[in-house]
Symmetry: C2
Subunit: 538 residues, 2 copies
């Protein structure tokens, strides 16, 4: 709720740097480093991204070559595009970095064997803060926002670190230079290491949500006070009375509530995960989907709030410019949203293929029968034609619609991919041709998760006065999302023309019903005035 640069520096130190030691290292690393990381005696960095490889980190080019004679790894930046880029804490404070580099170990004949990307602890600065020999660091320079974070570029030239500095939970190199790993597949090994990013993604989703709440608090309070225009010979009306204004802000208010349930849910499951690897894999997918959804939502919300406050929103004094500048990068860092969403969709697609493969003949027959039955009920004309408020405000109807959309997009993109592969198209080209479809699938998935978390939250609420208010917000969230995607729902004959019209009417009605509650609903975010720091709203 306060300064987002502090949030990011905190995340780099404790989440990424400390987290990588905890998750990728072993007992000796934990004992030696974690206390100093926790006490800030050892400020550190997470040096993964390179100039040439921000998203496709599997192709990172920095090398770590084992030298058996000295028992050291030699870290090297082989070319300019391989410089570490955007490394938080590097430009000023970092003393050590977790560096991701391609591990190369010479075999008995001295021929270098490639083992793919691994993580190494590399000292960057001495105790006085002076940069160590062989390391070159440059400040990334001024950014749109988050200028409280000292992002830097790092080059390594013949930097030698002891063998023990390999974070060796998932792969070890013996003194003699023997490489071993409990995970035989190098792909799986790499993705296991990448799971260090999950916590960061959940944090970014939460930070985006906090920013959205701040922006909504400012815009809703201002809208309730600011008067402009009105009926003839009567006082001017608060601009929040206008339907256009309500339609800009209230669906986003509902979405903030929805995301609060969804992000809290995945955070709790991440924090409480222990046993099942399966669940971690699922949490990983959900974290990626919600990171994208929440940060896109933050960008939209802060922008809308700024515009809803007119000139006042453009003044730095009213905080929105800083919120906008600081959160803008959320959509592209810690995993670019589009790239993340395509990975989420690919994950859903492989689960689906697995599901089909796992079925025996009877299972497949049942699946087909169920799909047909679902098509009948889900596309039941009465279902898609019922224009009553009661029907549209039914959580079951809403969840069915979101689940139908996800399932239908999954099935159809699977069919499209298969057709192309059957026709002999290269799988990468087929993937490119289906990208827009895959992106729609991932969004539908993320929104279905969010609606479910919200609906569960409403149901679990045992405050009789609060529950109907939350239900209104859930209704608005669900129907505003359906309104936006109503073209698709009609195309699939899930929603008929009259119902499309009724959804629009219902969004309007819900906005009007939420108007008297709006200020309370942002007050409930409980952001202290000192943290909000916007004179127009305090």
């Amino acid at each position: 709720m306060l300064d987002l640069s502090v949030v990011v520096k905190f995340g780099v130190q404790f989440g990424l740097f400390g987290g990588s030691i905890q998750q990728l290292g072993t007992e000796k690393h934990h004992a030696e480093y974690l206390p100093q990381v926790g006490s800030l005696e050892l400020p550190g960095c997470f040096a993964m991204s390179e100039l040439g490889h921000g998203s496709n980190v599997r192709e990172l080019e920095t090398t770590a070559t084992y030298d058996a004679d000295s028992g050291q790894f030699v870290i090297e930046t082989p070319r300019e595009a391989a410089r570490k880029e955007w490394i938080g804490n590097a430009a000023r404070h970092g003393r050590m970095a977790t560096v991701f580099a391609r591990l190369r170990v010479p075999d008995k004949n001295g021929v270098l064997q490639e083992h793919g990307v691994h993580a190494f602890l590399v000292p960057l600065r001495d105790d006085d803060g002076d940069v160590l020999g062989g390391v070159r660091i440059e400040d990334n320079g001024r950014k749109m926002g988050l200028n409280g974070v000292d992002n830097g570029r790092v080059w390594f030239d013949d930097v030698r670190i002891p063998r023990e500095n390999l974070l060796d939970r998932f792969a070890q190199v013996s003194d003699e230079g023997e490489y071993t790993s409990p995970i035989p597949s190098s792909g799986k090994r790499f993705f296991t290491m990448l799971s260090t990013l999950v916590g960061g993604r959940i944090s970014v989703a939460a930070a985006g949500l906090s920013a959205a709440k701040s922006a909504l608090t400012i815009a809703v309070r201002y809208g309730a006070r600011r008067r402009q225009f009105g009926p003839k010979d009567a006082p001017e009306r608060p601009i929040l009375d206008y339907r256009t204004h309500q339609r800009r802000l209230f669906p986003l208010l509902a979405e903030a509530y929805a995301l609060d349930f969804a992000v809290s849910d995945v955070a709790a499951r991440f924090a409480g995960r222990q046993a099942a690897d399966d669940d971690l894999r699922q949490v990983e997918g959900e974290a990626a989907a919600l990171k994208a959804l929440s940060t896109w939502n933050a960008t939209t919300t802060v922008q809308t709030a700024r515009e809803c406050c007119g000139g006042q929103g453009y003044l730095s004094a009213n905080r929105l410019p800083q919120l906008k500048a600081d959160t803008d990068v959320f959509t592209t860092f810690e995993g670019d949203n589009t790239v993340l969403m395509l990975q989420v969709a690919k994950g859903l697609l492989s689960e689906f293929q697995q599901e089909l493969q796992d079925m025996n003949f009877f299972g497949l027959a049942r699946f087909i029968a169920e799909a047909a039955a679902r098509r009948v009920t889900e596309r039941n004309p009465l279902h898609g034609r019922d224009t009553s408020s009661e029907h549209l405000r039914d959580a079951g109807f809403q969840q069915d619609a979101f689940a139908f959309r996800e399932r239908a997009l999954l099935q159809s993109v699977a069919r499209r991919m298969k057709q192309r592969l059957d026709d002999g198209m290269d799988s990468f080209e087929a993937f490119i041709e289906c990208q827009d479809h895959l992106l729609s699938l991932a969004k539908a998935h993320a929104e279905r998760l969010t609606l479910e978390a919200f609906a569960d939250g409403v149901e679990a609420c045992d405050d009789e006065e609060l529950r109907p208010v939350l239900a209104k917000l859930r209704n608005l969230y669900a129907l505003a999302r359906m309104e936006e995607g109503v073209g698709w729902f009609q195309e699939k004959h899930y929603v008929e023309s009259g119902q499309a019209h009724a959804i629009r009417r219902e969004v309007n009605a819900l906005c009007a019903e939420l108007r008297p509650l709006a200020v309370d609903l942002v007050d409930a975010f409980a952001i202290p005035d000192e943290a909000l720091a916007a004179p127009i709203a305090t």
Copy 2:
């Protein structure tokens, strides 16, 4: 294409300050001030907005009271909310301001008569730049962007100006204090004075378009160079090859081309207007509609370009942060976009009512018959079901669709308004209830104008090689807009389910066809590298 603060200071000095003298003043003002305005000897301001009244300028509270004894007007800020706010050039450079204030003239009995808002030339600073007595000025403080513009707040306390300083083209006050005006209706008089804003709105539309072009040039060039991911064992692919990336950028590239035709068209008509007042009224409406469309588009385009450039787009060195910060206010200054669009819709509604009223019995009968015939052809099932590329890429089909949407929204909102008024609802409440509908109408109107200007431009192009390329861009503009609004088109049975699907397919196909042309299409904007000032794109 260069610094937008300079654009705004230029616009304030020559467009608003100079323009108000030229358009609202008479010969004596022109002779005395225009040469000094043009030479920058007399830097000036346009002091319309007040803290309490940014959009509803008819309710401005600053007063200008005539004192017949001295032959002076007394300018006064009656309360804090009436301070002039956001006045460009005020904080530092302005020596004089066109001040909008309520004119009050005492009648023979000394009772003040209100004549509504008028414009007065009020000196602010002396030749040394020192603020004059009775005037108080404060800097607005730091803003998100445009910090090269010295926006200020201005208070007036018993500031006396000679009678001649009333800009008196549309209203005069004689020495003895007799008020006269060639325009009897005070409402019409006020709106005539407001037409000084038209030039500014066209300029802002053009400035937004320039910013969008710069952003597109940066993002398209970077996307063509930046490689990430690729097929197994093959070089990585330029990110512009990805369908998701094309779908983010190419519809906006097409929209920039579309707006170029539309904005140039309205600018030419504004510059060439002379005679017919009617045409000015129409240019005024189109300027408002295009100002909103072009600046919303600028915000979306700059944001999308930033995200498409990932971390590189977040670096100040690559210009996008400044473009974003500077253009952000375009959507809410020089008329808030939402307010402007509602005014545009109201204008269309009154024209429509006039149209109906002007019809005699036979005219009305013909109108009804034509509407019915149109409904038959426009909603002809074959028309809405034809999924061929040829049909979808037909300019006639596209223009029919856009015109149908505008007309249908106009007729339905007119019906909704009438129902409410017939039911005895207050007209202001009825207006609020129909605002979302009116906003859709105004957007449909603006997009129809834009598509028409684009289609005319394509047709007028006599370069045989260029015309098909422009036609592709027009197709993409039209179909991407239809895709976005496909829910509405289906609801009205104008587009059938299969055609909705075909439109999506066609947008994908057009994106792929434009891929090899994309770099040329941004190069054609011809922005010099020095002006683009983005190392990732030069």
